[in-house]
C-alpha cells in the first residue's frame, strides 16, 4: 500500500525536472543558433561587398555610402546623346524626364523625351534619379586582361603543383623513416625536426637568398619549388602520426612475402594513408597559392610573378579601379573556396589534426 503510493509521488517532481531540463536545452540551442547565425552574417559581409563591388561601374565606386546592389542610371537618347532619366515632379504632376544640362545653384534643364525642345529648369535634389540593377560582368575579363592573368596563373600553378609533388614525395619518405624503423639518434632527429616548426623563418632567410642568388636562381621559380623536395616538419609530423595508426601486421606480411622497405611504403603504407596525403596536399595548395613573402623576395620580373605578387602590383598601379581589383581578387580566392567546398570533410572533421589532440 505504502509502496504503490510512494512511487507516483516520487516520479512526479522528477518528470517535471526532466521537462525543465528539456526546455533549458531548447533555449540553449536557440541561443546558440541565434549567435551562430549573427556571426555567420558578419562573416559573409566582406564576401558580399567583394562580389557586389566587382560588378559595379566606375561611377558607383565614388558613391558614399556604397550601394549594396550594383545599379546603373536609366537613360534615354535625346538628340543623339544618352541622358539620365529622372522622375520629375512639376506642378503637382510626376512624369519621366531626361536631365540634359546642369545649371548653377543645384539646378538643371530637364526635358520630356517626347517633346525634347521644351526645357524646364528644376532643382536636381527634388527629383528622383531612375536606376535599374546592372551587373558589369565585363569587369572580370577586363581586369584579368590588364593584370596578365594567364601568365600569372601558369606560374602559380607551376609553383603549387611541382612543390606539392616534391612535398608529397619527400615527406612520405621521411615520415615513413620516422614511423617504422629503429635507429640510434632517430628520436633526437625527430625532436630536432619538430623544433623547426617553431623556428622563425627570418633567421635562415638571408643566407638562403644569398645561396639562391649565387646559383643564379633569383628571379626564377626554382627557389619556391626546389626546397619542397627536402620535406618540411609540419607535413612530416602529420603524415607520421597517420602512418603510426596503420597496423604493423600489414608491413610484416609484406616483409615475409619478400618486399623491401621501399616496396612496403609504396604498396602498403601509401594506399592506406590516402586521406592523410590528400589532406597535406590540400593544405600545401592553400599555402602555395596564398604565399606572398617568398614570391615577393625572389621574383622580380613581371613574367615570373605568381598571382599573389601580380595582384599586389596590380593594386599598387590601379588602386582607383576598385571594381577591377575586386574582380581580380574574387578570381584569386575562387580556387581555394572551390577546393574548400569539395574537401569540406577534411576541414570540418579535422582529419589532419588528429595528431595534435591532447
Amino acid at each position: 500500500m505504502t509502496e504503490s503510493l510512494k512511487t507516483p509521488l516520487r516520479t512526479k517532481p522528477a518528470r517535471r525536472r526532466f521537462r525543465g531540463i528539456q526546455t533549458q536545452t531548447l533555449i540553449l540551442k536557440s541561443i546558440t543558433t541565434f549567435i551562430l547565425a549573427a556571426g555567420a552574417g558578419i562573416i559573409m559581409i566582406p564576401f558580399l561587398y567583394l562580389l557586389s563591388t566587382s560588378v559595379k561601374d566606375r561611377d558607383q565606386l565614388r558613391q558614399s555610402p556604397p550601394p549594396l546592389i550594383p545599379m546603373a542610371a536609366d537613360t534615354v537618347i535625346i538628340n543623339g546623346q544618352d541622358e539620365p532619366l529622372y522622375e520629375v515632379t512639376m506642378d503637382g504632376k510626376t512624369s519621366q524626364m531626361a536631365l540634359i544640362k546642369f545649371r548653377p545653384g543645384g539646378k538643371a534643364w530637364f526635358v520630356d523625351p517626347t517633346n525634347p525642345d521644351q526645357t524646364h529648369e528644376l532643382v536636381i535634389a527634388d527629383q528622383k534619379e531612375l536606376r535599374h540593377v546592372k551587373f558589369h560582368f565585363e569587369n572580370y575579363p577586363e581586369a584579368l586582361k590588364q593584370m596578365k592573368f594567364n601568365k600569372l596563373l601558369f606560374n602559380t600553378l607551376l609553383v603549387t603543383f611541382l612543390g606539392m609533388a616534391g612535398m608529397l614525395f619527400s615527406c612520405s619518405l621521411v615520415a615513413y623513416g620516422f614511423s617504422r624503423f629503429r635507429a640510434p639518434w632517430l628520436n633526437i632527429l625527430f625532436i630536432l625536426l619538430l623544433s623547426t616548426i617553431m623556428l622563425p623563418s627570418q633567421v635562415r632567410l638571408i643566407p638562403t637568398y644569398v645561396l639562391f642568388n649565387k646559383l643564379g636562381w633569383v628571379d626564377t621559380l626554382l627557389p619556391l619549388i626546389v626546397p619542397q623536395f627536402f620535406a618540411n616538419a609540419y607535413d612530416v609530423f602529420l603524415l607520421r602520426q597517420f602512418f603510426m595508426t596503420i597496423p604493423l601486421e600489414l608491413d610484416e606480411a609484406a616483409k615475409i612475402d619478400g618486399a623491401s622497405p621501399l616496396q612496403t611504403l609504396m604498396y602498403i603504407i601509401i594506399p592506406q594513408a590516402r586521406p592523410a596525403l590528400v589532406s597535406v596536399a590540400i593544405f600545401h595548395f592553400l599555402y602555395a597559392w596564398n604565399d606572398f613573402y617568398e614570391p615577393l623576395i625572389y621574383l622580380h620580373s613581371p613574367d615570373h610573378w605568381t598571382l599573389a605578387v601580380g595582384l599586389q602590383t596590380f593594386n599598387a598601379l590601379y588602386a582607383v579601379n576598385t571594381n577591377y581589383i575586386m574582380a581580380a581578387s574574387a578570381v584569386m580566392i575562387l580556387p581555394p573556396v572551390i577546393l574548400y567546398f569539395l574537401a569540406q570533410k577534411i576541414f570540418t572533421q579535422g582529419v589532419v589534426f588528429t595528431g595534435i589532440k591532447g
Binding site: 551562430l36 558613391q63 556604397p66 620516422f178 623547426t196 643566407p207 644569398v210 599586389q312 593594386n315
Partner: protein
Amino acid sequence: MVSSPGKRLISLARREALWAYAFIAPWTIGFIIFTIGPMLASLFFSFTDYNIVDSPHWIGITNYVNLFNDDLFWHSLKITFTFAVIALPLGLVFSYLIAVLLNSKIAGINIWRTIYFLPSVIAGVAVALLWARIFDPKFGILNPILANFGIKGPGWFSDPDWALSALVIMSLWGVGGNVIIYLAGLQGVPTDLYDAAKVDGATALQRFWYVTLPMTTPVIFYNLVLGLIGTFQYFTEVYVISGGTGGPARATLFYNLYLYQNAFRYFHMGYASTMAWVLFIIVLCLTLLIFRSSEIWVYYEGQLKSK
C-alpha cells in the same frame, strides 16, 4: 657457413638503421642546406657589413650596437608586441568560444562550420585588398554600417591611431584556422567525463570550467605557441595595405616588415641578419617561457596516470 645469431641480430639492426637514415635523408640534407647552414651563416652575417654585392666585411658587434640605438627597431618591436598582446588573447578567446558553439548538437551545424571556416582558407593578398577597401573611411562599407548604430567610424588605415585596431579586426575575421584546431580538441574530450560530472550534479557552466577547459589546455597551448610565432612573422597584410611602407606614419611598421625593408630594399643584409637573430632570441625566450608556464596550466592525460 652459419653466422652466430648475435652477429645476425646486430647486422639486422644495422640494416634497419641504414634504411631509416636513407628514408629520412631528404629532410637531413634539407635541414643542413636550408636550416642549420643558413642559421649559422646569418649569425656570421650579423657581425658583418654585407650588401650582397661585395663580400661580407667583419665589423664585430657594431650592428648590434646600432640596432639597440635604432629608434625604428624599438618602434617596430613595440608595434609587434602591442599587436601580439591585443590580437593574440582576443583571437584565442574568440576562436575558442566559436569552437564551443560549433561543437554543440544543433540542427544544420555543418552549414555553420562551413561558413565559419571559410575565411581561413583564403588568407593573403586578396583578403588584404578587400579589407583595405572595407575600412576605407569614404567609400568603404564599415563606417556606413557603424553610422547606422550612431557611431562615427574612425579613419582606420588612414589614421595612425586606428590602423592597428583595423588589423586586429581583420585578424579576428580569419580565426577559422584556430577554430578547426579547437574543435578537434573539444571533440577529443571523452564523453564519460561529462557523464560523470552530470551524475555528480555539475551544471553546464561547471562542466565547461572543470572538464572542457582543462581537457583542452593542450590545444590552447598549441594555438598560443603557433599564434605567437605567427605574430612575429606577420607581413603580407601590412605590406599590401601600406604598400610596403608600414604607414600611415609607420603605425603598421611590424618587425618583420622593417626587417624586409632593411634586407631587400636597402640591402643591409648584415643589419637584417642581426634583426633576424634578435628576433630568434626573443621568440625562443617567449616560447621557453610559455613551455615553462605550461607545466602549471596545461593538462596532459598521460601525466596523471604516471603519477
